[in-house]
């Protein structure tokens, strides 16, 4: 019986050879799909001439020029002027002077990155706080038209961002919220709260009601039981939901490019505007992209067990 | 045939919801098909009808 099952023709117990072939194909796919990301990382460490060399350079002398250009603005100066300066203070000074330029000041990358952080964390905090309250109510109480309300909440996330952006643009212009971090936080909270409610409802559904009921028999009020019993039990779920909300707000581009232009601009609309002398400064873009993507790689690893839940709004759990 | 009619006449959610789904799908296909401008013109009305129908029939008993 068991021997009959370990043949090449078994789905339950595949043979060693079929496992090897499957593994080889999957690993090949994984490696090929990593090529663009590897190229981003490599481009960040190239010099501008290396980055646009033909044929594309796979082996190159690493340089920090991309990162220096990402964080600074530079002006072209005469040889005499550069020689009249003192010795270079930093490694970036040295690199820019080799190109007959001096550092004029910091670039906008750090403020844009900071905006992304503020807006992503602000909207995540609001969305998860609102979401956990609503999710608890939907999970534990009989609410009239609960299914319709839940569908309404979900449908708001499905809407095409450009279609929503037209009235939001007009509304924000009237309210003075255009190009403010507060406006973006409100908007991303509204988009994320739907995901938060659906995901957290799934997590709270899994916590046995008996826990709160026992606490309430001990004299806790409902609110007390919610804060002291349910919230700690749902901590993992809340963390996973928060990371999903962070990822959305971090990656969002459509609203950001239409509704922010200066003060509150986030990194995604900023990175494509990085230009050097004579076209795109690809090493700087590569450096900016790398720094922008690193948090996402960390999140992917943290979330790998909950990913499926997140992308199906909590419906598929394992 | 009369069996099918009976199923719809009892106003149960299942068959009506499937019908509404078909109407919505037909509307979306009409919107994106490359064959006839007339079908494209009527796609919005079809999608709207299907969606309204879906919202109404989801209130029918299981």
């Amino acid at each position: 019986m068991s021997q009959a099952l370990t043949t090449a023709h078994s789905v339950v117990a595949p043979s060693v050879l079929s496992k090897r072939i499957a593994g080889a194909i999957v690993i090949l796919y994984a490696l090929v799909s990593m090529i663009p990301l590897a190229w981003i990382l490599m481009t960040g460490f190239k010099t501008p001439p290396d980055s646009i060399a033909y044929p594309p350079k796979i082996v190159f002398a690493p340089s920090l020029e991309g990162y220096c250009n990402l964080f600074t603005t530079r002006t072209r100066q005469t040889q005499e002027y550069i020689q009249s300066l003192g010795p270079p203070q930093t490694i970036c000074d040295e690199i820019t002077r080799k190109r007959d330029m001096v550092i004029a000041g910091p670039s906008n990358y750090v403020p844009r990155f900071w905006n992304s952080l503020v807006i992503a964390f602000g909207s995540t905090f609001c969305a998860v706080s609102l979401g956990v309250l609503s999710a608890y109510a939907f999970s534990r109480f009989r609410i009239p038209l609960a299914d319709d309300l839940l569908f309404f909440i979900l449908s708001t996330r499905m809407m095409p961002p450009i279609a929503v952006a037209i009235p939001i643009y007009l509304m924000y212009r009237k309210l003075g919220l255009s190009d403010t971090a507060l406006g973006m936080i409100l908007l991303y909270t509204a988009v994320n709260v739907s995901l938060a409610v659906w995901l957290l409802k799934g997590f709270i559904d899994e916590i046995p009601r008996e826990y709160e009921e026992a606490a309430m028999i001990d004299g806790y009020t409902r609110l007390h039981a919610f804060f002291k019993v349910v919230l700690p039990q749902a901590a993992t779920g809340i963390a996973a939901t928060a990371i999903f909300c962070l990822i959305f707000a971090w990656n969002e581009y459509a609203f950001a490019v239409l509704l922010t232009s200066g003060e509150a601009q986030t990194a995604p609309p900023f990175i494509p505007t990085i230009i050097g002398e004579g076209g795109m400064d690809w090493p700087a873009v590569g450096a900016g992209t790398t720094l922008f993507l690193v948090p996402l790689l960390v999140f992917t690893v943290l979330l790998r067990k909950h990913l499926l839940r997140g992308i199906t709004f909590g419906a598929v759990r394992k | 045939m009369s069996d099918l009619l009976n199923r719809f006449m009892r106003f149960r959610r299942g068959p009506w919801e499937n019908l509404a789904t078909l109407v919505i799908a037909a509307g979306v296909l009409m919107l994106m098909q490359p064959l006839s401008l007339t079908l494209y013109t009527w796609s919005f009305a079809t999608m709207l009808a299907g969606t309204v129908m879906f919202v109404i029939v989801s209130k029918f008993p299981e």
Binding site: V11, V12, R20, G23, V26, S33, M34, I35, P36, Y54, L130, L133, S134, A137, M158, P160, P161, I162, A163, V164, A165, I166, M171, R173, L186, L187, T189, A190, V193, V197, G219, Y220, T221, R222, L223, N251, Y253, P268, V285, T289, F299, T300, V301, R304, L307, L308, I311, T312, A315 | A20, I24, V28, L31, M32, Q33, P34, L37, Y40, S43, M47
Partner: protein
């Protein structure tokens, strides 16, 4: 805290609270969604019947009836944009479903290290479509780009002899390739859940009956994973129907209007030509399509829901 000292008060609050708490907990979310989603939606419906232009806020607003709807639904240009969207949606879904399901089927063989490689494969879908799309522009550069060099390495075609982004015949495929690279992992992950939901004993029974692997695939694997595949297809369909960020950065709708998908047309009308009334009507049309599909999606979601 005082819960023993004042039992009567506690009970009164508790008796009152359940319903009150339920509404107090839901109300903030609803208020926010009403303010940021429903109110703007109603405003859009109103604007779609007027000739309002956002760059001329002081001009008197006149009512134009269903003119914009008739214009859009009779316009060959918008129809062409819908077909560009259809081309994009059709091919991305087809490629992602085939590759994604294939990968899931192979990963389900549970070879050594499959969990690690699955995580690696999932990385592209977590990234920002805009930031990564922007970088693909570099990969697609005719001479210096990596993509053309790799194609030329395998086929021998001169790397500078074709332009992925600049030519009318290739640019629709350039966005399909990036989207497939990015979202195949999404389909793969959901298909994997579908395959894992099939209990082993069904296969064991089929093997006792000596059903071939081919038969097992068509009569067990595919039918039982189908609700999951449908879920993935519907969601990708909705997402790609409204695709904006990656296409906007990669081709911006060009060359000409070959990759001008619906959202790009909408952006041009709304934020470049400032035809707010017209674009509001267009937004409502897209909106109804997405709302209808979202209904179907939730139906599919309930079908695979696990308790």
């Amino acid at each position: 805290m005082g819960r023993i000292a004042a039992p009567a008060r506690t009970r009164r609050i508790r008796g009152l609270s359940d319903k009150a708490i339920a509404w107090a907990f839901i109300a903030p979310t609803m208020v926010l969604l009403l303010a940021i989603n429903i109110f703007p939606l109603i405003w859009t419906i109103y604007l779609s019947f007027t000739n309002y232009q956002a760059n001329r806020p002081n001009r008197p607003i006149t009512y134009v009836g269903t003119k914009w709807y008739r214009d859009i639904l009779g316009s060959p240009d918008v129809w062409a944009a819908m077909q560009a969207t259809a081309h994009f949606v059709f091919w991305t879904i087809l490629l992602q479903t085939l590759i994604g399901f294939g990968l899931a089927y192979l990963i389900d063989r549970k070879f050594r290290g499959h969990a690690f490689w699955t995580t690696i494969i999932l990385v592209p879908m977590m990234l920002s479509p805009a930031v990564v799309g922007n970088f693909w522009k570099f990969l697609y550069q005719p001479q210096i780009g990596l993509f053309n060099s790799i194609v030329s390495f395998f086929t021998g075609i001169e790397p500078s002899s074709f332009e992925m982004l600049g030519s009318v015949s290739l640019s629709p495929w350039s966005i399909i390739i990036v989207d497939t690279w990015m979202w195949t992992p999404y389909v793969m992950l959901i298909c994997l859940a579908g395959l894992r939901s099939i209990p082993d004993y069904i296969y064991e029974a089929a093997e006792v009956d000596r059903a071939s692997l081919w038969r097992q695939f068509w009569s067990i694997t595919l039918p039982m994973a189908l609700p999951f595949i449908m879920l993935a297809v519907l969601f990708r369909g909705i997402e790609n129907f409204k695709m904006f960020d990656m296409v906007n950065l990669l081709t911006g709708g060009g060359p000409g209007s070959t990759t001008e998908v619906a959202s790009i047309t909408l952006k041009r009308e709304a934020f470049e030509k400032w035809r707010t009334g017209y674009s509001s009507a267009f937004a409502i049309i897209l909106f109804v399509a997405v709302f209808g599909l979202a209904n179907i999606y939730v139906k599919a979601l309930n079908r695979v829901k696990q308790r």
